[in-house]
Structure formats: C-alpha cells, structure tokens
Subunit: 203 residues, 2 copies
C-alpha cells in the first residue's frame, strides 16, 4: 500500500506488528486515531508505555502485578495449599475469569520442549518444588496445554514430587487436545477446573 | 474480564477503543506489548502521538500530508484538469492503490445527509467550485458511495457546475450498491475508475 504520509506508513507498520493485525486493519486503526482527539491518543500512548514500566512479575508465583507480590498471593481468601501450575501468566487471567479456582498459581514460564532447547532448568520448577515443601502444599493442579510438551512437563514435575504425600490432578480434558488454553471458552475451562482428575504417572 | 493489574486493564480498555477490536483481541495485543522490548513499545507510542502532531490536511484537496500541500497536488505528473471527488481522505488511499487514476482529488469531508444535519455548506463544495473555475478543470469524477447520500451529493454538485462546459463522470458501479469504498477490492475499484461513465443529471 502507498500512503501520502510517512508518519501514517510508520503507524501502520507499527500497528501491524500486533498478532492477528494485518495491514488493512492497521490502516483502519491509524485512521481512527487520526480522527480521535489528541489528548485521547496521548493517553493511549502513555498507557502503552506504562505497561513496560509499571507491570512487574510476582516474586512468588510469577503472575503479573504492580507490587512485589500479586493480589492472588497476598489474598487471605485464597487457599495457599492448592497450587495451579500454568505455563504462562495469561493462563492465570483465563482461569481467574472462570471464577472456579480459589487456590494460588505457579507460572512455569514455559514448558519442557527439548526440540526448542527448553529444559527443566529453564523453567521455575525448582521454585515450585521449594514452595511445595516450604508451605506444606497439599494439592497440585496441572493446567498445561494438552500436547506433548505440556504432558512431558506435568510428568517431570509429578516424578519430582512423587515421594511427597501430595495430591496431584490435571484439569479435565474438556478443551480440545492440541488447543491452547487462552482460546478456550470460560465455561469449558471452568468445568475442566471443577472436574480435575487425579494425575497418575503410569496412565 | 478481571486482570491482576490496573495498567493492563487500562491498556485493554484503550486498545479495545479501536474499531473491530474486542476485549479478547485487546488483551492479546496487551500481552504482546508486555513481552515486547521497552524501546519498541516507546517507539510505537511516540509514532501514534506523531500522527496527531505531524499529519495535516492538504490546503488544496484535503488529503493527508505532512506539509502545506499533499504530494498529489504538488506532483508534476498528475493531471490537474481532472478532479476526483471523494467523501473522505481514506478513499484517496483506496483509489491510489489501484494505480488507475492520474488526476488530482477533492475531499468533500462528508456527503449531504439532511437526516444527520449535514448540508452542502458543511462540506468543501464551495472550495471545489472555486478550484474548478480558477484552474480550468476539464473533468470531474464522482467517486462517492453508491447510496442516497452519495447520489444526492453528486447531483447537487453537478447542478452547480451545469453551466460550465465540464465533463462529469462517476466511477462505474462495479462495486456493490450500498457498499463502502474502503472495503472494495483493488481490481474492482480500479476498473470502476477506468470505466467511469458520463454523469447525466436526469437519469
């Protein structure tokens, strides 16, 4: 496409960096901003910059937060003996939106994927094991994607805690096998938390 | 949706202001920015602000530009005797992308819509009439949307220039009646410029 302004071309280029946003959509977004009030555009720009300066990761679970610990880890209403293990912090948003889980989380920061060079030591598995022993955790729920990497990671962690009297479960496979957590609808994902099944190493 | 960070909530709210962007897409965009490098996010933010400060409207045709006149009005390769009348500056981008038009443009800034309180005086019609007489324009091409407002506007302008020996045409209705110019594909839109038909007041 050919624009009569360098700035518009740059804006389109910037906005089409977003996942799922093509050139045409980026152009419509740019034209929307052109017609918007200057103060609105400045507000949007400063909030986007705020994202990088204000948002941090919880020192305990790895969730997003604006202080040291996230509001789930500091809440007195959450069951600290029940940890849901997720790959990424956006999985926490998905699960929280179901309103079906009242435990706490642990963000692994990825899954074991030897083909991509991701091993157990690249994840926060040792932090998780420390939390389990230090805090007397009673149940682990695996909420990992239903694919080989997710399964391998759950298996690896389950083996590591085998010697402890820990209940281990995994969210019910109500969501499509091979599907990503973030695309699941809230009802299916919520039910998969309620119907979590005991995790058996040899199944 | 419930986020563990005010800043993320604000970012999602801001990004879902864009047309066609819902909360879920806005969240994915926000998470993309969270994982992006700080300097990239700052660059994006400053380019969005630039949109409002650097981009102006051409003093002659109303196209977007970063100087007094746009690069179409100042080009020596464009036929200044041929003016294409469009509703909005984004229509210029659409037509330019077809590569089929070598005249200049005139942006009306809207169409006559009595139901919405838009009359001829709210548009740049008088500027257009001045351009036609001052510059000895030989042909007008109406590239307005094929609906009642577009037709009314074309009719109004045609009546105003009836006394001049001016060739008047309209883009061929190859594009769907009632459809918006900006959604037409380039080939159909390009053909509709090539096959423009004489505009008759009494047809």
């Amino acid at each position: 496409m050919n624009f009569s302004s360098d700035t518009i071309e740059k804006a389109v280029e910037q906005l089409s960096r977003f996942p799922g946003i093509g050139k045409k959509t980026a152009l419509r977004m740019t034209l929307f901003l052109l017609k918007d009030k200057p103060e609105n555009v400045e507000r949007m720009a400063s909030i986007l910059v705020d994202l990088k300066t204000k948002v941090k990761f919880c020192g305990q679970c790895g969730n997003i937060t604006e202080s040291e610990l996230c509001n789930i880890c500091t809440s007195v209403n959450r069951n600290k003996k029940l940890i849901c293990v997720v790959k990424d912090f956006q999985d926490i948003i998905s699960i929280e939106n179901t309103g079906q889980f009242n435990g706490v989380y642990h963000v692994l920061g990825g899954v074991i994927a030897p083909m991509e060079g991701v091993g157990p030591d690249d994840l926060t598995i040792s932090d998780l094991l420390k939390r389990i022993t230090d805090e007397g955790v009673e149940e682990l729920v695996f909420a990992l994607s239903a694919n080989m990497e997710g399964d391998t990671t759950a298996f690896y962690i389950a083996r590591k805690v085998e010697h402890l009297s820990l209940k281990i479960s995994a969210i019910a496979r109500g969501i499509a096998v091979g599907g990503e957590l973030e695309y699941a609808d809230e009802i299916t994902l919520g039910r998969s938390i309620l119907n979590r099944v005991p995790y058996a190493i040899n199944n």
